[in-house]
Every structure is written in C-alpha cells, then in structure tokens.
C-alpha cells in the first residue's frame, strides 16, 4: 500500500514519458498501457528543442561548488562541535538541525535585496552564495553524528605520538569519517538541486536557470504543457536521486538515532 502510494504518481510519470501524443490525449484509452507503440520522441525533444541541457549544466555546476563550500565549512565545524568546544557542542545537534528548517520563505525577500546589492541577481553565483545556508546546517548535523561515533582513542593515541590536535583531525578523524563525508556530498548536492524558491526568485534569465526552477517555467509556455517532456525531465532528475537516497536510507535513520541514543548514553 505504502509503496503504491509513493510510487503511483512516479509510475504515471515514467509511463507518460514514452507515450505518443495521440495515445496520451485520448480520454478513452486506458492510461496505464501503451495503446500505441512507445516512443523516444519526447526525450529527444527535451534534449534538442528545449534548454534542458542548459539547466542540467547549471544545476551541476552550482551543485559542485556548493558541495565544496559546504564541506570546507561544515567538516571543521562538526569536528569542533564534537570534540573541541566542550559539552554544549555535543548537544547542539538538534539546534543545528532547526537552522536547516528555517524556511526560505522567511528569508527570500531580504536575500533578494542582498543579492541585487551585490549585483549577483540573474547569475548562478547568487544561488551558489545562498545554498550553503541550507546545506551547511544539514551537513554539520549529519557529520556531528559521524564524528561522535568515531572512538576518541584513535586520536588520543595520535596525540600521544606527537601529532598536533589539528594533525590528529586531518590524519586520523577525517579518514575515519569518510563515509559520512560521502553522505554529505550526496545530500549537499541534492539539496542544492531541489531548491525552487531561491532559484525562482533570484534568477529570471534562461541561461542561468536550474533544473528545478527551469523545468516548471520554461517547459510550460503559457497554457501549453509539454507533458511528456516535462515528465521526462522530472524522471531524469529524480530517479538517480531516489536511488541515492534509498541506498542511504539506513544511514539517515542512524543520523536521527544518533541524536537520541548518544545523549541518552551521556546522561
């Protein structure tokens, strides 16, 4: 039942992709089977006659840089909170997560001001500047759990061997947290890809649009909906993300669990 509820609209999306116009726009046809042979024409249309590739490239470019900024700032921050600044750092995880929950809706108007003040409006850089506000809290929270689960003993023996604290972080803790960092890369990328509000508000030129703002605005021209191509675009973006999230499912559960279990043990 749950799988059906979750997958049904997505299934309809995938079926739509391969349908020809005549089949799709006939209300008497069974919508779930191919009354006419399936076609790849819609995907072809998407890649040749729309700006989809531009959006893909923009999203990709933004994603990579946002991931880099996020890691650079949140890895040290998470390590610091888990080891260096004392007890309050370890208990700060839910507070950090709440920052992630501050809705863009509250901030997009003032941020729009800042972005236009910096003359970044309509460029991908406006989004690169703003997305880390979403990804840093989320990734710091995720990494905090990871660093907590790395036994302190490893680092302490490194310290005794004459490593500096920073050296111990670089050479011991960081390699041990690599799975966590990999998880962060996936999520930081996915979060930057998913945003709609900032992308819609800050950027109104086609050349700088991302997939999540570009698809709804550019593939719907007035009242004309290119449904099959829309669905194809959505499917191409969604399926890899769903697989990535699905495979990281258990890790996410552990992330939330870490919040409860660790502190229980400490108390």
């Amino acid at each position: 039942m749950f799988v059906l509820f979750a997958a049904f609209p997505a299934l309809w999306m995938v079926i739509t992709v391969f349908k020809s116009d005549a089949d799709l726009y006939n209300p008497y046809n069974n919508p779930f089977i191919f009354n006419l042979p399936p076609t790849l024409k819609n995907i072809e249309f998407l890649f040749t006659s729309t700006n989809f590739t531009v959006f893909l490239w923009n999203s990709f470019f933004i994603g990579i840089i946002v991931v880099a900024i996020t890691l650079l700032l949140s890895v040290p921050a998470a390590y610091s909170l888990s080891r260096l600044v004392g007890r309050w750092g370890q208990h700060s995880s839910i507070a950090i997560f709440l920052v992630y929950l501050i809705p863009p809706t509250l901030l997009f108007i003032p941020l729009y001001e800042i972005v236009s003040l910096l003359q970044l409006a309509n460029t991908v850089w406006s989004l690169i500047l703003v997305y880390p506000t979403i990804t840093i809290p989320f990734c710091t929270w995720l990494l905090l759990g990871f660093f907590k689960s790395v036994p302190r003993e490893f680092e302490e023996s490194a310290l005794i061997d004459g490593c500096s604290r920073f050296g111990a972080f670089l050479r011991v803790a960081l390699p041990l947290a690599l799975p966590g960092i990999a998880t962060c890369i996936v999520f930081a990328f996915a979060l930057s890809l998913s945003d709609y509000i900032y992308a819609a508000v800050f950027v109104s030129t086609t050349a700088s649009r991302t997939v999540s703002a570009g698809i709804p605005t550019e593939l719907i021209r007035g009242d004309i909906y290119y449904w099959q191509s829309l669905m194809a675009a959505a499917a191409i973006v969604t399926i890899p993300l769903a697989v990535a999230y699905g495979l990281l499912f258990d890790r996410l559960v552990k992330g939330f669990q870490g919040d409860i279990a660790d502190d229980k043990a400490a108390a």
Partner: protein
Amino acid sequence: MKQQRSGALSMHAGVADRDGLLGMLMLAPAVIYIFILVAAPFFLAIALSVSDATVGDPHIHHFVGLRNFIRIMHESAFGLGLRNSIIITFASLLLILILATAESELLVHNFRGKKLVQIFLILPWAMPVSLAAIDWLWFLDSEFSPVDWLLRSVHLLGPGTLLGPANHLYYFGREWLGLASIITIYVWRLLPFATLIVLAGRTSIPRDIFEQAEIDGSGFFRTLFRITLPALMPILVVASMFTALLVFGDMTVVALSTRGGPGYTTQALPYWAYLKGIDGGALSEGAAIALFLFPVLLAGSILALRFAYRAESR
C-alpha cells in the same frame, strides 16, 4: 581530564594544539557564513517590513511604522491565506503522523527486497519539490488524470454516478478539492522524511520489551497502544514539529499547483508573500507577510527543542 592533558601539551605548541581556541577557529567560518546569510537577512526582513521599499527602489528610505502590516491584514487574501496555511499544515501533519507510524512499524522488520522498497518509499522526498508538484499537476490533470480514469472505470465518476455528473473532478480548480490535493501532495512528499525520524525512534526501543509482551500474550494492537506508541511519543512530537515547519514554510506546492486559485481560496501565506513581494514588486509588504509566519515558526521550533531535550534526558 583530557582538557588538562592537552593544556599541558600546548606549552610547546601553537594554536593547532589548544583545543578550545582551535575549536572556535574551526567553528567560526560556518557560524559566520550562517550568521551573515541567515540572521542578517532576518533583521533586514524586519527593517523592510516597516519601510516602503519596492523592487524598483529596494533601498530603505522611509520608516512607515506598521502601515504594511495593517494594510495586508485588511486584504481578503490574508484571512484566507492564514486559514489555508493552518488547515494545510494540520491536516498534512495528522495524516503524516498516522502513516509514518504505520510505515515505520513495517520497516522495522527485515524482509526480502527491503532495499528496493526503501528506494520507492523515499522517492517522493528525494524528488525536487518543484518537480514533485509538476508530477502531481499532471497526475491530477483536469482532463487526463489517470485517477479520474480509474474512478470512471469503476463507475464512481461520470454522469449518474456517486461523484457527480461531470467526467472530471478538476482537482485544482475547486476550493476544498484544491486544498485536499495540496494536502495530499504534502503527505506524499514528507511521509518519507517523517518515517525516517519515527523509524529512528522505533529501532531504539529495546527489543526485549516486545518479546516480553509477546510472551505475556499481548496482541498486536495492545502492544501498539500500550508499548510502542507511548515509547514513541517524544520522537513523534519531534517529527511533527519538523514536518509542520516544512509544510508551513513552503510555497512551492501551492505556487505550482493551484496558484492559490480559484480567487484566493487555496492561497497560503508563503506564496502570497512571494506574489506581493517579488511579482507585485512591493518588497516591504511581502516582507511583512513573511514575518507573519515567524511567530508560529518560532513557537514550533521552541516546542520541538524542548521536547527533543526532554526525550534525550530520559
């Protein structure tokens, strides 16, 4: 103890060895980044809301007091937007909580093909929200919705049937059906997220409690209501706060599905703030509307934090 030892070491080392200082240095960049781009804009939002700034002239010249707030409160869209935001949030929340508890009850057990099931279940949350909205827009299309087709084929829809004489339900074109559709989209989208949180709480309940209950002859529902739900209560509260914050603060679903229509009947506050502030060019009024969200969000966050810590200290 550890602090002392590293303190002793630091006599012959620099910053790299002083835990407290190094800790602050490593934390600072992230905190400063967030502060500049989250806290500062927030105060700017307050400043904007009491000014007369527009998109054409975004500088804050004049202080106009609470005029923007008073003006927006007099618009009919405000009442409807507030009403709808509340309805959508609470209805989605209730459904999500029930379904997430049930779903986590299933996922706590191991079964064949669980990985594949997880991929399908998490799909709605993995999907960028705008694309999810587009998917539903098509799924509930006024003419070609496969749901309509299914309803017609089992004779629930169409001339002379239960759901009325029309051949289509026009999901996004009617007030209550539009709201119901929006709620459905939120439930669909955030159920995986809530399930993750509940599942985290569910798997940390010690297993011997359930084994004991089984030995004592407790049935499924008895176990559920007497053991599972009370033990889950704190995490359910956390999950509901998180979910509520995500629903209440989101504008994408409304923006891409009903666009607030017909009229303002399915309008929600966040999208109205966008229409006023960006599309309509009245930055100050948009900021004022967005600020109406804040007290609710703040209360929600404080509650979430308190419950979370109470759960932790147990």
